[in-house]
């Protein structure tokens, strides 16, 4: 009897040791960590991102019974979009909380601050909410991008101006920050590929309040199409100033543009083309969106689910799909292997299809080009066409 007991204890210790090799995983739980700004100016994005991801993880726990019997603990900490905070937050998640993976983190500047740390610690990163090219190029074995990066947005905007609007005179308005610079460089390179140069590049600081001079310069350039590498409110201010001057080029934006541009810029927003990579969660025609809204409302009753919440929800679905596919003996290796086998997954049509291979962790490559239009008196975003810049070359 004594011998049996000793054996049982030894087996138990061995089993615990084996389990202990996988950080963040117990018999009953999987601990996932994240940094998402819940305060400061970017909280406008961070709060819906947090809620979108949390809604799905809660649903998996409460309704689907977890993943192979394990409940998800989603520990999203607030870095207030301050990279100094991000460093502290991620170190805490990895070293103290011992998370299994970093999922749904928000913001390039935070990720850039912890990038070397992530590479050293090899903590898996899945569904990051940022357009940062470095996530996917070159491929890092344990990092899986989700959203299209600035290469896709910059090149697609330039390509659309050349191939679709047939503009010979192309102008660029760009915010002077890391995002703007990255977009600008890819757009310039893409225009060069098609034998063109922009007739004007208008750069403005992120704190700008007065866009009248920039509108003047754009009008003066007689650009037929203007690539708008701006945040939403800045884009609205610029196109309103252009409209006031009677200057109406074809504006082509990036993923910062949403239907809300109509609210801010009024009729001046009419005709603006912008890329999307997700179905509007309020789309009345999509059953997947309806299901998503239903789950979201279960946890956030009365709140309107927006596009940020949608992409975080989808990102969380991708995480749980890979956890499920990795099987009951969850390890980081099994998780990464499961992700590398994701093929044409599109969250029931909510996003363009994603395929990962060991060499390609790019995520969404195809963009859905939309245009702001008033249809039957209703201001809406009309789908134009799919756009895959790599395929168009």
């Amino acid at each position: 009897m004594k011998r049996v007991l000793i054996l049982a204890v030894a087996w138990g210790m061995l089993a615990a040791g084996a389990l202990g090799q996988t950080p963040g995983v117990t018999d009953t739980t999987i601990k996932l960590g994240s940094f998402i700004a819940q305060s400061g100016p970017v909280a406008v994005i961070g709060i819906p991102v947090m809620k979108g991801a949390q809604a799905w993880y809660s649903y998996v726990n409460d309704v689907l019974g977890g993943i192979h019997g394990r409940k998800i603990q989603f520990l999203a900490l607030d870095d207030a979009f301050n990279p100094a905070n991000t460093v502290a937050v991620v170190k805490r998640l990895v070293e103290q909380e011992n998370i299994f993976a970093l999922v749904n983190p928000l913001g390039t500047i935070g990720m850039a601050a912890v990038w070397n740390y992530i590479l050293q610690n090899k903590v898996p990163v899945v569904s990051p909410h940022m357009n940062w090219l470095t996530l996917a190029s070159p491929t890092v074995s344990h990092v899986f991008a989700l959203q299209p990066n600035n290469e896709s947005f910059g090149r697609a905007a330039a390509q659309y101006a050349v191939l679709e609007t047939k503009a010979k005179r192309i102008g660029i308005a760009v915010v002077e920050d890391a995002m703007g610079t990255e977009l600008l460089n890819f757009a310039l390179d893409e225009l060069k590929y098609w034998g063109l140069q922009p007739v004007v590049v208008v750069k403005y600081p992120g704190t700008e309040t007065n866009f009248s001079a920039y509108a003047q310069v754009l009008r003066q350039s007689k650009a037929e199409a203007v690539l708008l590498f701006s945040y939403l409110a800045d884009a609205a201010k610029l196109i309103v100033e252009c409209d006031l001057l009677g200057y109406k080029p074809q504006f082509i934006g990036i993923n910062t543009i949403t239907l809300q541009l109509f609210d801010l810029a009024g009729k001046a927003a009419e005709g603006v083309v912008f890329p999307g990579f997700g179905t509007d969660p309020q789309d009345p025609t999509s059953p997947a969106a309806a299901k998503m809204r239903e789950i979201y409302a279960r946890y956030y009753p009365g709140e309107v689910m927006n596009a940020y919440a949608m992409i975080a929800f989808v990102g969380a679905q991708l995480v749980t799909k890979a956890l499920q596919d990795a099987g009951p003996n969850l390890t980081r290796e099994a998780f990464i292997a499961a992700l590398n086998k994701v093929k044409d997954w599109n969250a029931d049509g909510m996003i363009p299809p994603i395929t990962y291979t060991p060499d390609d962790h790019y995520g969404i490559k195809t963009l859905w080009m939309n245009q702001l239009k008033t249809v039957d008196g209703v201001r809406t975003a009309v789908f134009l066409k799919e756009w895959n810049w790599a395929a168009n070359r």
Binding site: V44, N210, S212, A213, V217
Partner: protein, 293 residues
Amino acid sequence: MLGQLVVSGLAAGSLYGIMALGLILIYKTTHILNFGQGDMVMFATFIAYLLLTLFRWPFPAAVLGAMVAGALLGALVDRGVMRWARNAPVTSLFIATLGVGMILQAVAGWIWGYDTKPFPYALRGRPLFLGDVVLRQHDLLVLVVTVLISLVLFLLFKFTKVGVAMRATSQNRRAAQLMGINVGRIGTLSWALGLGIGALAGCLVAPIVYLDLTSMILVMIKAIAAAVLGGFTSLPGAVVGGLLLGVIENLFGGYMPSAIAPLKTTFVFVLIIVVLVLRPHGLLGERTAGGHG
């Protein structure tokens, strides 16, 4: 292009000018630079937004409501914070105003969220054309209101009993008290007036820069620059400073190559430093500006 840049610059500059007026008013009488002015104006403007969207008040009524709310907020800040801390060093009082601003920012975020909100123009309708040069009706209104308010306040300070009492309190608090002036009440009045006018400014600025938690602060930074340029104690000076600032930054942004055009605001600040070296009291400021009487 030159005419349009100047006119657009004047339109932008009048926004800086009108935002500066409330700030200067408070500074003039209390010697406190209200670092929270941008947040307080933002909060009062959100009150107008609430009245417009939730209660469907007409625009003038909503603006009036915001001005009353702003005035009450100003009185509350004075009675609730500044008066209790009046014996603290001036720098602590500055920080106290910043603290109130941050609290209001958090509360506003909690109530109205973090999305950028549209705000209606005071005057809609076709823009005005002066030859090739175009101007929104709203811009003209802002310019007129800015000049009017600065003149009314100038006259208030110069010729009314309350204005004289405000100046007296500003120059020597103890002496003013001994002369029978209720300095506490004057302080409260200044805060109320400063934020009442701030709320009006917010409602006129919001259609251009939209309304969110930070848009007013960005304009306020330029308003402070305008005030410094004009000579911090002069109300008409702030307006002149604002207009100059708007025009100079537009000309710089319009004519400089794209590599340095985004430095237009930096250029303006450099210019301000030059002005301050040559005229330490600003363009129209009193020579005692910066002193504390």
